[in-house]
Symmetry: C2
Subunit: 271 residues, 2 copies
């Protein structure tokens, strides 16, 4: 039987979910059923949650684990009465931080998350639009305005990475697919030459690439293992020849790819 | 003078950053200089960080605040010697969780984050591709495969929201812009009618909309305040007439918009 875990917040629940998930991942041998309950921002909603949680404890005899980042005191009081194993994220850390900073924290509903500010919002939306406008070599090329330009063979992970960097970090990331023609030349396409310092290469295991391409165009030359082997070999050769930093996306999540690129290219995150 | 804060991890640093940022946001009157240091995964890197942190303490006389999610014990030991105010996220919560779960946690490097698994990765990438293929009404319309279809006037926030839901939750979100012609008809476009249950509307304050549109096409009829007022009024009327759930994106971050839609449309997040 899976152990129940809940991430409860009066905001988006992203902090509770991110931390809770990270902590539970450390217990590999236990299977957790994970549920996020965002916007628990009224006493009525809180009371309903408490009833639901208590029912689980009564029926299964095992207490659900609850990670919460609720800031509203009256809602905290209600949730604290549930028969659960509670990990109270904010109260655990805010007390020592208040002492160190010698100031009281503002338990203001809705103030608990990043990204709500207009400046950050605008920068991210602008970055998303930039990524979409400069996705794939065929689109508008404002490479001069790019913070970074990802290059790589088709389906090596460029687009999701650009979008993640835009949404998460407000980074303007363009991308340019290196085609068989480009690779045959054994040199950078002319359009990329002026921006060599902004280039970052992606590569991928050929077998994995073939599997991904087969989902889009099955049994095509494009998706064949030979073609994938050839393109990956050529593109890695090109990166080395041109001294372009690159990484393999094969075993990494989009978050990991993006974070590693940010680090290696020394890009500054949106505060 | 800004107080220095660091989010240190041997992984992506997203957990430390998300939690640390949420906690610091509770201290509104203090300005923090926030720095994320991901992939601190060797003793050498850790020693360099300690030197950097100690230098700040010596020069400014104020200890930096450090939030960390390092799992490697030898790296933890090194970081723990820095003269900082340290918020040790994992050790604080893992000990009580181990007691409750009656099992030891695996302090395995790189196991601390969600999304690294292949299944989740694939679902997210598929969802991103789906969002891109079904963005804007002019593209391929696989509305039958969509988990949700966002509708709204141009520049009300549909595309970034679809992409965030795809990347964060693995949700297949399509979008369809309601144009002046659609709104003039006072009824749903034919292409949307079979999918009425999947529709979710976005709206936005007309002044905000005019400002956003002016950045794209300044001084156009499209960006005029009159036009924005007209479109927003009509689109809200349409939502009400057709009983389509909707929300205003004006004061919300992309995370907030996405999370609220997930909740109201009862969509299940990727585990």
């Amino acid at each position: 039987m899976k152990r129940q875990a809940f991430f409860i917040s009066d905001g988006t629940g992203i902090t509770a979910e991110t931390l809770g998930h990270s902590l539970l991942t450390q217990f590999e041998s236990i299977e957790f059923e994970q549920t996020t309950l965002p916007y628990i921002d009224t006493n009525e909603k809180a009371l309903e949650i408490v009833r639901k949680l208590n029912k689980i404890t009564e029926h299964s005899g095992v207490m659900p684990i609850v990670f919460d980042t609720i800031v509203n005191q009256s809602i905290r009081d209600i949730i604290s009465k549930a028969q659960v194993f509670k990990v109270d994220i904010f109260s655990t850390f805010l007390a020592p931080l208040e002492k160190e900073l010698q100031i009281h924290s503002s338990y203001t509903v809705g103030k608990s998350h990043a990204g709500g500010d207009n400046e950050g919002y605008k920068a991210r939306i602008d970055a998303v639009n930039f990524a979409l406008d400069n996705d794939d070599g065929s689109k508008i090329k404002h490479f001069d305005q790019a913070d970074i330009i990802l290059v790589g063979v088709s389906r090596s992970g460029k687009t999701p990475t650009c979008l993640y960097m835009a949404l998460q970090f407000g980074i303007k990331a363009a991308n340019y697919p290196l085609t068989e023609e480009d690779l045959g030349e054994m040199m950078l396409p002319d359009v990329l030459k002026p921006f060599k310092k902004k280039l970052f290469g992606l590569t991928i295991d050929p077998e994995r690439l073939a599997a991904i391409r087969n989902e889009r165009k099955s049994n095509s030359r494009y998706a064949s293992i030979n073609q994938c082997h050839y393109e990956v070999e050529e593109v890695e050769f090109l990166y080395q020849q041109e001294s372009i930093s690159y990484l393999s996306t094969t075993d990494l999540s989009v978050e990991e790819i993006s974070t590693r690129i940010m680090l290696e290219a020394d890009l500054k995150r949106l505060a």
